[in-house]
């Protein structure tokens, strides 16, 4: 078990999230990709907290999880509001801020 393999796994997870953000057209699909990216960051924090023995890194992974919960709640509220007003959930079709 090497540190490097887990680091590469976190990189791969991050890049798959980037790929999802670039290709998805559905707004909830974008949100799923963002969750992947946040998870990659949290995995990195936990990995390096284990390597260097820092408790603060785990605390920051905890903050990442908490802020991801906030982000998901706000994002889904925005998507529901958007779907009610513009009758679409595709991120491409939304080009006004004030409806």
């Amino acid at each position: 078990m090497t540190v490097r393999a887990l680091l590469w796994l976190a990189h791969a997870l991050f890049c798959i999230g980037i790929f999802g953000i670039l290709t998805r057209r559905h707004a909830i699909g974008l949100l799923l990709s963002i969750e992947l990216i946040l998870n990659a960051a949290a995995l990195n924090f936990v990995l390096f907290s284990r390597v260097f023995g820092h408790a603060q890194a785990q605390a920051f992974a905890l903050f990442i999880i908490a802020l991801a919960a906030c982000e998901a709640g706000i994002g889904l509220a925005i998507i529901l509001r958007l779907s009610r007003y513009t009758k679409t959930v595709l991120a491409d079709d939304v080009h006004v801020l004030k409806g």
Partner: protein, 170 residues
Amino acid sequence: MAAHALVIGCLAALVLLSALWVVTLRNLFRAALSLGLVLLGVAGLFLVLEAEFLAFVQILVYVGAILTLIVFAIMLTAKLQGSVTAPANRQVFPAAAIAFALFIVLVSSTSALVPATPLSGDAIRLDVLGQELVKTLVLPFEVVSLVFVAAVIGAITLAVPRHAKSTKRS
């Protein structure tokens, strides 16, 4: 040690495969369930890295709360599409090239920093983490709770229909 490596290999394969499902599956509901698999795999990796508290928080908050919220939103907006199937992805090959190039850049820039050694030293103890949260990191901790309050108020304000608000005022 071999069993350890086997567990990590299985978890890594699970995480990578279901992460690919999350970004490629046309059916959004299945993509959300694959995200659940990714989150469970990452929680397993947290357990392997001896961060048990974080693994439980991950399962509780991510799989318990966030995933339920996402499935709710998918079902509420599925009516607009006629189904939960998302439209075809666009620009798959340029995006794959960009993501792969980014992966190469990340790997080549970090491989010199980290030695390819097995993990050593002690795990982080939970009481040390708790002490950090209420001593050194007390300001970020409180700011996170402020962000939570703001997020709850914002989500309620956004999600309440406009006519419901106007009837309440009159």
